[in-house]
Symmetry: C2
């Protein structure tokens, strides 16, 4: 009996310690599924996220540029806004965005709720006003009932709207990436190429910025640290928030989770191929010219960061009523 127990423990040990080792020693941590304590708020936020009536045109919803069918992004260099205006910067993925230290490339919003208020009233994006957006929702009895149930008032406010959207967005984490399974001790989850890529990713120094649960999103860094980044995009990054000259061209380090799905890359969306993005990053940020095979291996590793995508039934939006303000698609 004792002997059996001992052997069982011995059999378990290498696995357990490997798990403990990776979880504590690797610079990247796995994502756990998000379990909301407020499922009704999440459902409301999901509807709002998909509702184009939060835009002036009645055509653009949060999901237009953070498309949950395609990695929470629009896969365009910069987004298309009201009246087909060209957005100034690449639309970051909404997936795992709750894990970032701040929102937007320049971190000008402290959290998801603050972020959600931005595009609705941005004249280049949804081009609406908070007041009009709230008027639309107040005119729809099903929304009024939903808000009342959650916030205990018939007076819908923009803070409630963005609070509910943020609650939905918090659920948009992507657990069970193959890399996470490996982190948790499943040696078969990665191929040798992918593991070699991960080793090179660490050795090269990528983990200095791309670490943590989101493998990014924890700091602002200058784009073009060793060598200047060539771009036509006029965005200057964090300086717009801090006014500090040292923050010029400093951007939030993007998450690498689901990076296979969130092309094109960088704040200007100038690079479509992950291999090219790896090459540019190593040169500009770390002063290293990676060998072609290393680029391939790192790219293979990066593709193991694709996790379970959000899985939910397409929401049904409550219909407008005769009191609902009419959208203005063409001015």
């Amino acid at each position: 009996m004792r002997k059996t127990l001992f052997l069982t423990m011995m059999a378990l040990l290498p696995f357990s310690s490997a798990v403990a080792d990776r979880l504590s020693s690797e610079p990247i941590q796995p994502i756990e599924p998000f379990v909301s304590t407020e499922p009704e708020k999440v459902e409301l936020g999901k509807k709002l996220f998909f509702d184009p009536r939060l835009s002036r045109s009645g055509f653009i919803s949060c999901n237009s540029c953070h498309n949950l069918s395609s990695g929470g992004s629009d896969n365009l260099p910069t987004s298309i806004g009201h009246n087909w205006q060209q957005g100034p910067i690449n639309s970051p993925t909404v997936l795992n965005s709750s894990l970032s230290l701040a929102q937007f490339w320049d971190g000008r919003a402290a959290d998801l709720q603050e972020q959600a208020a931005g595009p609705i009233s941005n004249p280049m994006e949804m081009a609406f006003t908070h007041s009009l957006a709230v008027d639309v929702l107040r005119s729809i009895p099903q929304y009024v009932a939903d808000f009342n149930k959650i916030y205990g008032s018939n007076e819908i406010t923009i803070d409630q709207v963005t609070n509910a959207i943020a609650a939905f967005e918090e659920t948009l984490v992507t657990p069970n990436a193959r890399f996470d399974l490996w982190l948790k001790g499943n040696d078969n989850a990665l191929t040798e190429t992918e593991l070699a890529g991960y080793q090179k990713f660490k050795e090269t120094g990528c983990v200095a910025c791309h670490h943590g649960v989101a493998i990014g999103g924890t700091s602002f860094q200058r784009m073009g640290l060793i060598e200047a980044y060539q771009t036509d995009n006029p965005a200057e990054g964090r300086i717009a928030v801090t006014g500090n000259d040292a923050d010029r061209f400093s951007f939030k380090v993007p998450t690498l989770r689901n990076v296979e799905l969130t092309y094109p890359y960088f704040h200007d969306g100038a690079y479509w191929k992950l291999e090219d993005a790896v090459d540019v990053m190593a040169r500009l940020q770390l002063g290293q010219q990676l060998a072609e095979q290393d680029i391939k291996n790192i790219t293979a590793f990066l593709k193991t960061l694709t996790g379970d995508q959000p899985q939910f039934v397409l929401p049904q939006l409550p219909p407008s009523t005769s009191n609902t303000p009419i959208p203005v698609p063409f001015d």
Copy 2:
């Protein structure tokens, strides 16, 4: 025993005969759920329906203008196309569209497959070409595998693309509207107001055109039969297809299924309120000025035609590869 059986039969009779009566005698028939014999093709079609890479910009999908979160329509007078072009005509709902005698307002497409080919290459809508759309799909291994499994070839063709989209669209029927429950014998499914509205709907003559399973979609009719329809919209309807002068201003009679969700109304999308649409139709098509109460009752009846909306998990689109043609959102 005999007596019990007799009483049981007597108890059932009024119900059964009422059911048989309504199903055979009413001019409207219930919708049955669609069960596809080709679930894999439906799944592929669903992805394609949601894939904005079938457009030049990479931004517009079938779902943009036939939004399955909002009654299969975009709830705009006329649609927004590539480069924010204003479409020429109201986007009809895709829900129950398989039940129409033809597709588009002027019936220029014989069926759903022929329809699906239109917007992809229409320069005012998705502004792509069939050849480029197919190039995009051929560059994505997951799509190649899907098509191969269904069509038995690695050569994706536009006919396969539209065939799969049509197979998905065929599933978009909306059974179990309250009116259908009433048709099937459930006397409690409708209120007295709604029933009175239905009676008035029949008496007024609306059923002459709005009958059958889709309550429309079975014929082309002149818009403004008794009194001319005033509109700025230059669409001339069926004459564009037949060249026959008698078909000028003749349009496909739209389905009234889910009409509560598919505002604004008519081919020009000029009317936002269902009450107004009822009033206009009675005057222009039937020469009748309905009393306000009758309009209210008919509107109440029309709202019982909202059925079960499509319920499915938001599809996940396979990512582009380094071989995928890059979208052109801004020319």
